[in-house]
Symmetry: C2
Subunit: 435 residues, 2 copies
């Protein structure tokens, strides 16, 4: 079953899809050369929005959960991608230590961990799980949502190496986004590959730095295809020194919202788009769709009530929001059985390995679909996003999915550039040899 797409199939997006299809050879070559120059993220997932007139990433996750939402038919793609990445990252690799999130009571998250660990094992690695949680003092068996068994063990530091009792890994893979800060036990590892690097964690990562890097990628891509970069890139701006509780920084917010709305309006006029522009206000650091607000008027950020202020003020792990990113709102025009849907594309290294739709019954086209308390139904893509069909129409599912795969890989390219630019000066760009 291919998800029924009722995307508005007229206007610029169809033209963009046709450009992407016609440019597939140039795009693949450009990406190939890009990954010769830049280190791909070990894994990533990208939330895309297809508004019918533009197709853009709105969030790039470097610690993806949700591997359990992927179509099991594409596991071989994920396994092959891990094997290719190991050739590049650490051919000698034997043991991999996976460090999951510490909230071990979320059984769907544990399901994700179980699926991810299985993929890594099938790629030929010995995989064990080490927990950052102080509550894990001995090997602990946990049950996933579907009844799988996952064992987490206490981490052991030995000199400059991290491991478990009787387990010395070549690779330490974080599936913990470090929202709670970088624990000392992860600092200063030597002779082991630590991916993603510590500065990719939400303790220091800023969405605004990601989208600044993505601006450069989108501009290069637009030159390659001779298109307007706006078609794949939402406008954005940022405000630092915000305090939602004391209302400090409100003027910066309001001014930037006004400026962005004006820029979007100009584009809408240029492309004769009849929609009302809106802006997403998000915590610059942090994840899980917490601290997100959609505004259509600068006045809205001045008139926040206490509940709204509280909701914006902190994100996961109690991280206080002091920096805010303002992003052009891109509505999703995709519907599955009349419900609003948003595609999420998964990658391992430079390769797309599948994806799924977040399908929300209770939400609108302009809402954030990755919000706490809002239940979404994942619908695995039936197609791999990697293979265009040159004989089919450009909006045929394989081709639409190919376009999704291309834009998602642009976001991953942006993430690679972002991580280079934000790397601590002392850190070598290339990972040290593993042993």
């Amino acid at each position: 079953m291919v998800p029924h797409l009722t995307t508005a199939l007229t206007g610029p997006l169809l033209e963009l899809e046709q450009r992407i299809l016609d440019g597939a050879c140039a795009i693949e070559r450009w990406l190939r050369l890009w990954w010769q120059q830049h280190e791909p993220p070990f894994y990533s997932s990208v939330d895309l929005r297809n508004s019918g007139f533009k197709l853009a990433p709105v969030d790039t996750n470097l610690f993806p959960g949700g591997f359990n939402n992927l179509n099991p038919a594409f596991v071989p793609l994920a396994v092959q991608a891990v094997r290719s990445l190991l050739e590049r990252l650490c051919p000698n690799a034997k043991n991999l230590l996976l460090v999951p999130e510490s909230h071990t009571r979320n059984r769907w998250y544990l399901e994700n961990v179980a699926v991810l660990a299985t993929i890594l094992r099938q790629a030929g690695l010995e995989v064990r799980l080490g927990s950052l949680s102080p509550d894990v003092a001995a090997p602990t068996a946990l049950e996933t949502a579907t009844g799988k068994r996952v064992v987490v063990e206490p981490l052991r530091r030995s000199g400059a190496r991290l491991g478990l009792d009787g387990f010395d890994p070549c690779i330490v893979l974080l599936n913990n986004d470090l929202s709670a800060g970088v624990p000392d036990i992860l600092r200063g590892l030597e002779g082991q590959v630590l991916v993603p690097p510590l500065h990719a964690g939400w303790a220091s990562r800023l969405k605004s730095q990601h989208f600044a890097a993505y601006d450069d990628v989108a501009a290069e891509f637009a030159r390659l295809l001779d298109i307007d970069p706006w078609l794949v890139n939402p406008y954005h701006a940022q405000c630092g020194e915000i305090d939602f509780q004391t209302r400090a920084g409100e003027e910066c917010l309001a001014a930037n919202v006004a400026m962005l709305l004006e820029k979007i309006r100009a584009k809408y006029r240029e492309y004769r788009i009849g929609e009302t522009p809106f802006v997403a206000v998000k915590a610059d650091a942090g994840t899980y769709g917490m601290g997100v607000m959609m505004v259509r008027d600068p006045a809205e950020v001045r008139d926040l009530n206490r509940r709204q202020r509280n909701r914006m003020a902190v994100v996961k792990e109690g991280l206080v929001v002091s920096n805010v990113i303002l992003q052009e709102g891109v509505a999703t025009m995709e519907r599955i059985e009349d419900k609003v849907a948003e595609p999420v594309v998964y990658m391992v290294g430079p390769h797309v390995i599948g994806g799924f739709y977040r399908v929300h019954g209770a939400r609108g086209a302009e809402d954030n679909l990755n919000a706490p308390g809002m239940h979404f139904v994942p619908l695995a893509f039936e197609q791999s996003c990697t293979v265009p069909d040159p004989h089919a129409a450009c909006d045929a599912p394989p081709n639409r999915f190919y376009a999704y795969g291309v834009v998602a890989r642009l976001a991953a390219a942006g993430a690679a550039l972002e991580l280079e630019r934000t790397a601590p000066r002392a850190a070598a760009r290339v990972s040290p040899p593993c042993a």
Copy 2:
């Protein structure tokens, strides 16, 4: 639908499969390190025989046809494998020239060419087809068995570069096994990647050199898993200076057949196998299952009638058989609906991308199933051969297929070693940079 396998599920093969499953991490690591040291064939297909007590390659094809026989569901695996290989071979690649076989009247072969060209295009290459046939003097449209259209064009040599009118490729990919010899137009190319290399063609390649290299690979693999290498490696021997028409070299043949039968008998005693040993006599150069004979007694090679001598004397393109390889016969114990079946596994670079069964109604378990005039029905594997299931029994389809994928990759590793050893001294081992 998973093919119904009625393989004899007792005795050493089950043990071998269990060893392969238990050793998956060590095997994957070993293969990863192997491909750091050796250049993988661009593509290959391996005929396997599963006799119920051993699992071994019997033929390694470096110019595989039959891409049309693969399960279309695994095309994304093939596309990803091509993309990974391009990163390694020629990141800058844009245009690829595919040189097919010249017998353009075989419409199923053309179907293979069409499928292969589509995979290469989907990986992001501009692909055009150039023919070695003198009959192709202008671009010629040909129709495949399913009605696809394939255009072959005359080759153009310009200095040290090969191309077509208006098409200068980075990569020249041969799907022509050069049974008719190496044409001058392919010699001395510079600044282009030519794969497979010319010395992989049947004008000079010898099966005995492949299996000599495979001996070394099988021995290393057997040490890794602590198993008898015989379980994955058929005994073999060779005779040169054979002339089937004048009956020269018959004594060498008979003596080697007797020696091989004795070695096999000893192994059968060791493993308490009740079968009757047999030996395959094959042309050392050449393909398509021509020039193959199964013998159970040395006397059989002395008493060839005229028809048998004629059948052995020449293979494809009239190539005269003067070297012969004698190979331990491995019967296939696999049946699909009571018909004899032989698995064929396909690889792109180091990655398995799928496979199919040759299913023969009219042939026996010990016969050659890739024979001219014998119709076989291809049955695409339902599984990818790349992903073991550690929770299932070792003879469950994913695990059996994983074992097939491992042994096929060992054969590809043998081919890489063979091509290194047989490379002309002047040829650099590493391909020149493409431009």
